[in-house]
């Protein structure tokens, strides 16, 4: 075990400053500083607030992770960092810290993809990923179905949300119900006491002519809001628990149905679920039920590894080292719309970089910034 790569990973794509340390597929430390409370009153993540919090937390969180892991920075085999996708200003704090850290220690730097990291983290929980792995990633920033024949070099997008991310829908419905931010945990809790069949909310993009693996939660969100408003306008009490359970059922029904179908269509017998929404208890139980029926092995990491964290970045970094993938250059950029098809950002090997191309297509499946520029 001792000869497996020892890697420190830094994650700052949204509102969590995460630093993890792993050796191969063994988790040694997972330190987190979150600014979620600072965003709560704004009803969503405010990029500048997140960036400020990352800067304050960055160095102390690195120190804490190393201490927790009980390893010396000098023994690291590499430093991995989320290069994208995510909030531009937030990513930049982590990327700059990772570069300085790697440079000062004389270690290779690996700029890695946030989405691939969400998949790779399961190696820390259930051992090496089968190849290929089917992955369903669901959070406030992303909702994607990905097929990963090789998590370090070959990740293929099968489908993604065409409008809101699944986690965003939870936040918005929580807001309509005046339950606060973030919405996921509170809706999960209330739904346990409600009837998921009480109201038949629409299942987006499930018609025979719809894209088989894409998702849409915007229509569902509007339908739920209208249903609630109709009750309020009629002067009736809104059955919050039944609404939460029925809404949640509509989301997880579509997510699991499409994920199982993708597994069957592609002949893949392993399904991995990651991202913050993977902490949802109903998603976990329904996915287990349907996987069992279909003879598919379900892999879902514990909730703390599903939400954004540094360990997942370290896990992917360790895999990069193990498979001899090229390190990134010192001019590595933070790329807010890094395509999911780039599991990492390999360097060109030239000391002083190349112009970075932003010509690739920007899909909808990355964190939505409230303001594009931090023009202060």
């Amino acid at each position: 075990m001792a000869d497996e790569p020892l890697v420190l990973g830094i994650e700052t794509s949204c509102d969590e400053t995460g630093v993890g340390v792993v050796r191969g597929t063994t988790l040694l430390a997972d330190a987190i500083a979150s600014s979620v409370d600072e965003h709560a009153r704004f009803g969503g993540v405010v990029p500048e607030v997140a960036s400020r919090a990352h800067l304050e937390a960055m160095v102390p969180t690195i120190e804490r992770a190393l201490k927790e892991a009980g390893v010396s920075a000098r023994d690291l085999d590499g430093i991995a960092v989320t290069a994208g996708p995510g909030l531009a200003g937030a990513l930049l704090v982590g990327v700059s810290a990772a570069k300085a850290y790697a440079y000062a220690l004389g270690k290779p730097l690996y700029g890695v993809n946030h989405l691939a990291s969400h998949i790779c983290v399961d190696q820390l929980e259930h051992g090496p990923l089968p190849e290929p792995t089917m992955a369903l990633l669901v959070s406030g920033g992303h909702s994607s179905l990905l097929l990963a024949p090789d998590i370090t070099s070959d990740v293929r997008p099968l489908g993604a949300t065409i409008d809101d991310a699944a986690g965003e829908a939870f936040d918005k419905i929580a807001r309509v119900l005046q339950l606060g931010f973030p919405g996921g945990p509170v809706i999960d809790r209330l739904a346990r006491e409600g009837d998921p069949k009480a109201i038949n909310f629409p299942r987006g993009l499930t018609g025979p002519r719809d894209a088989a693996y894409d998702f849409s939660f915007s229509g569902l969100k509007t339908a739920v809001a209208r249903w609630i408003e109709a009750k309020r306008n009629a002067g009736e009490e809104v059955p919050v628990r039944d609404v939460a359970a029925s809404f949640q059922e509509a989301v997880v029904d579509v997510l699991t149905r499409k994920a199982i179908r993708a597994c069957k269509d592609e002949g893949v017998d392993h399904l991995m679920i990651g991202g913050g929404v993977a902490a949802n208890s109903r998603l976990r139980s329904l996915a287990q039920e349907r996987c069992d029926d279909a003879g598919i092995i379900l892999r879902v990491p514990r909730p703390k590894l599903c939400t954004d964290n540094g360990a997942m970045v370290a896990a992917l970094g360790a895999e990069m080292v193990k498979r001899n993938r090229p390190a990134s250059d010192w001019d590595l950029s933070a790329d807010s719309s890094l395509p999911v098809t780039d599991p990492h950002v390999p360097g060109t090997g030239e000391a002083h970089g190349h112009a970075h191309s932003h010509a690739h297509g920007h899909d909808h499946d990355h964190v939505h910034e409230l303001s594009k520029d931090n023009l202060y």
Binding site: R41, F42, G43, G44, V46, E48, V49, S51, R52, L55, E56, M58, V59, I62, E63, A73, A88, G89, L92, V93, V95, S96, A97, K99, A100, Y101, Y103, A104, L105, R175, V176, Q178, T222, A225, R226, E229, A230, N233, W330, D331, L332, S333, A334, A351, H352, G353, H356, L370, S371, N374, L375, Y376
Partner: protein
Amino acid sequence: MLLLAVDTATPAVTVALHDGESVLAESNQVDARRHGELLLPSVDKVLAEAGLKLDALTGIVVGVGPGPYTGLRVGLVTASTFATVLGIPVHGLCTLDGLAYAAGAAGIEGPFTVATDARRKEVYWARYEDPRTRVGEPAVDRPADIAERVAGVPAVGQGALLYPEVFTDARAPEHQSAAALASLAVERLAAGQEFLPPTPLYLRRPDAQVPKNYKVVTPQ
């Protein structure tokens, strides 16, 4: 003594090495959108030019702004991380003080104004009695609103050059120089003066709005 100075609070990405006697190497690039990409290669370049390694440093000097925050944070997190790994001190200096010191080296005695571009039609600015003495704290304002307070004295920095109708005697230097920042730090260290912590001078609040009441979706 071997100091590495970095400043990313303005469109300039500027890095210098100073051994206490003189500037050994420096790198100056102006590109407001690429601080993140340019800084580390610049550090690597000045060290290579001086034939030194990072672990030879005895201290880090960093401009703490004021300046556009996204770029500013690149220099600060880089400086703090280096300092932590190397176990050496990091000395924060007001970015405008570096420009004032450079103005002094260019022959301006004082009093004068330093102004940098704060975007949104505003400037970050401060008045100086002489190149080493700032009057009060830096501020962010619309040029027209401070016209009376900066009238009658020379002004340096890109913020001054951008608004000649207010800064009628605008001059070079236009951009921040880490070499000047390092020289100023050497003087202050010798004089036993205090430095600022390596945290940004945020002169504006985040542009975050608490959402208005929930918007009804049902057509009225």
